[in-house]
């Protein structure tokens, strides 16, 4: 519609994802920047961005169950672990002498399988979860993390056991490895760039899926369960069914994220999947913005890049030490303090998270120079 860009001729147009020219332009610009960045930034930063992209998939998953459907889950680390180990087992070297199981399968099998096995784990947990809400659900999912942690430590044939660990899955799709230097469409890519594009492509696809779920009847039912569960049920939304859906979709996302995340570090240690990891994902959701997909991505980027920023702190603040045992505070302690502090500050001052800050800035400039 030349000249009247906001005139919609169909409901489909009105409900589209990119239903304004501004959204289309900004999305195109953002995509261009994201493609351009890995050729400019240093390799370690590119790897960090790849980690952020994959972590964002996990954050989207947690946001579906916690942000959209309102079911607090502290058990996200467990599902990340299930995904990571499913991928590692399916991909692992069958002839390895280390004693861990492996089947040597390709990425097109282990990637969906990691999601599906995690989703199945979510389905097993869901019947307990849908009988509880609020704090009680948080406690049950907290228990899940500890049970999972125990299983990961003890199932040595799958995980290698504490202190030993095992190799993570290698991202090889039909003979092309994202984790080794290679060329795509004639463009030579280093290891970090390959992993970055793997993460970016996976994130774009998974974010699109999540956005579609959010704007569909399923997403509306999630929000109804979150906002008023009795009214939702009277409207014809089956609480049981939608709480299960939310858990299953969320753990599917966690499984995919878990399987891809450790292709970067190439190594899996059973102790990784503890409560702290869950808390990191909760921080991503709360800092980024509950019940928004773009917020999950912003939150994941922030939480992933935060440690890197904190590493720079000791050179400015003398009482904070970069060493493990020294000074008044170590950088690791500072990091954990900051997660807690930021969660509290966001909950008090901007419950809509970074997305809320962005929305306010956008609305300000939309009306500028008027105040409303």
């Amino acid at each position: 519609m030349r000249g009247r860009p906001l005139l919609y001729r169909s409901y489909e147009q009105d409900g589209g994802l990119l239903n304004t020219a501004a959204k289309r332009w900004w999305s195109a610009a953002l995509l261009a920047v994201l493609v351009w960045v890995p050729f400019q930034a240093s390799p370690d930063l590119v790897l960090l961005l790849a980690t952020a992209a994959i972590a964002a998939i996990g954050a989207i998953g947690l946001n579906i169950v916690t942000g959209y459907a309102g079911q607090v889950s502290l058990g996200h680390a467990f599902f990340l672990g299930v995904g990571a180990y499913t991928a590692a087992v399916l991909n692992g070297d069958p002839a390895a002498r280390s004693g861990v199981v492996g089947y040597g399968l390709d990425m097109w099998i282990w990637l969906p399988a990691a999601g599906l096995v995690a989703a199945a784990a979510g389905l097993l947990v869901a019947p307990i979860a849908f009988r509880l809400r609020g704090l009680y659900l948080a406690i049950v999912t907290l228990g899940l993390v500890f049970i999972g942690d125990h299983i990961f430590r003890e199932a040595e044939s799958l995980t290698g056991g504490v202190g030993v660990g095992r190799k993570a899955a290698a991202p090889e799709l039909f003979g092309f490895s994202f984790a080794e230097p290679g060329t795509i469409l004639g463009v030579p890519l280093a290891r970090d760039q390959g992993l970055y594009f793997m993460g970016l492509i996976a994130l774009v696809i998974m974010a699109l899926f999540a956005r579609n779920v959010a704007r569909s009847g399923v997403g509306r039912a999630f929000a109804a369960v979150r906002d008023r569960d009795i009214a939702a049920e009277v409207m014809g939304v089956s609480l049981r069914r939608y709480k299960i859906y939310a858990f299953v979709i969320s753990s599917f996302y966690a499984g995919i994220a878990g399987s891809l995340l450790y292709t970067i570090s190439r190594f899996l240690e059973p102790g990784t999947f503890g409560l702290l990891l869950s808390v990191q994902y909760i921080a991503m959701v709360l800092i980024g913005g509950p019940a928004t997909i773009s917020g999950s991505i912003m939150g994941a980027a922030f939480v992933t890049l935060l440690p890197r920023l904190i590493e720079e702190v000791p050179s400015f603040v003398p009482i904070i030490s970069g060493e493990a045992a020294g000074g008044f505070l170590t950088t690791q302690q500072l990091e954990q303090f900051l997660y807690g502090l930021l969660i509290v500050l966001f909950l008090i001052f901007e419950p809509r998270g970074m997305y809320g800050i962005w929305a306010r800035a956008r609305n300000y400039w939309k009306a500028w120079p008027f105040s409303y």
Partner: protein, 288 residues
């Protein structure tokens, strides 16, 4: 602001989407409640109440605070389960069914204290009313193509027609928590209508409204009954409204059924007057 113009080809009347009578069978009574009893720890909230509601009848339940009116609604919509007695709707028993299963049979309700989904827009709230008519699952939702896309447009069409009917076009994309009370009540009515029910339960639809809002709401209720031919059970304290629009009235007091009949006979009923005004007014009966 975005402008939405429905395509000109699909200008069917709202009755095509929501007509209550057209889909109903030939039952003499749509809803039959017989001898239901509900107790909470020694308090008898409902004590053997029986009534019937015919197709496209406007049936009102009145009574002082705590008489058990809303408890009856909660039994009808499956939120509470009565201890004894039977409730049948269009030949199906409602006892023991989950609320969402009852919704599926064609019973919609509004709440005394607005129970809208506060973070969602008017549009999304009404679309949630269409929920039970949505036939695609989460896998189709992920791709949002083909069936899911077509269904969303089709339900949007129905919802837009209801928005038009209730005259709330200007707030369709506003989050409901931002809207004034009277409009929220209207949105809640719209959400119940979107379910395309055969029976609509309205719990105090005009409570807390000013005269103009009350008149608007009364007009909507009559339109729903007469144009859409949807049966309505109404709980309301506004006696003027009830006596003006109800076909039959059930009066309750302390969980007991004290009178049932046409509005004129209820107004004259000694028990009803006693329940509302107390014992000493009994001798002056009928002057309320």
């Amino acid at each position: 602001m975005a402008v939405v113009s429905p395509s000109a080809t699909s200008r069917q009347p709202l009755t095509e989407f929501l007509g209550g009578r057209t889909r109903a069978g030939d039952e003499r009574s749509l809803l039959e409640v017989s001898d239901i009893v509900l107790r909470f720890e020694g308090v008898t909230a409902i004590d053997t109440v029986s009534f019937e509601v015919g197709p496209s009848e406007l049936f009102a339940i009145i009574g002082p605070n705590g008489a058990g009116k809303t408890s009856i609604f909660n039994c009808l919509s499956g939120v509470y389960r009565p201890e004894s007695g039977a409730i049948t709707f269009a030949g199906e028993s409602l006892i023991g069914r989950r609320p969402h299963a009852i919704a599926k049979l064609g019973i919609a309700r509004t709440f005394q204290n607005i129970e809208l989904f506060a973070n969602l827009t008017v549009l999304d709230n009404l679309m949630l009313g269409r929920h039970q008519h949505i036939g695609y699952g989460p896998a189709a939702a992920m791709f949002y193509a083909g069936k899911a896309r077509r269904e969303e447009s089709r339900h949007r069409e129905v919802v837009e027609r209801i928005i038009d009917f209730l005259d709330i076009e200007n707030v369709r994309k506003a989050p409901v928590s931002m809207l004034p009370f009277g409009i929220q009540k209207r949105v809640e009515l719209g959400r119940a209508l979107a379910m395309a029910p055969r029976l609509l339960l309205l719990d105090e639809p005009v409570a807390g409204m000013n005269l103009e809002e009350r008149e608007d709401m009364a007009r909507f209720i009559l339109d729903i009954k007469e144009e859409l031919e949807i049966a309505i059970v109404l709980v309301e304290h506004d006696m003027g409204l009830v006596m003006d629009i109800a076909d039959r009235v059930l009066a309750m007091d302390f969980g007991r059924q004290i009178a049932i009949g046409a509005p004129e006979s209820i107004q004259q009923d000694r028990e009803v007057i006693r329940a509302y005004l107390g014992e000493q007014h009994e001798s002056r009966g009928g002057e309320s």
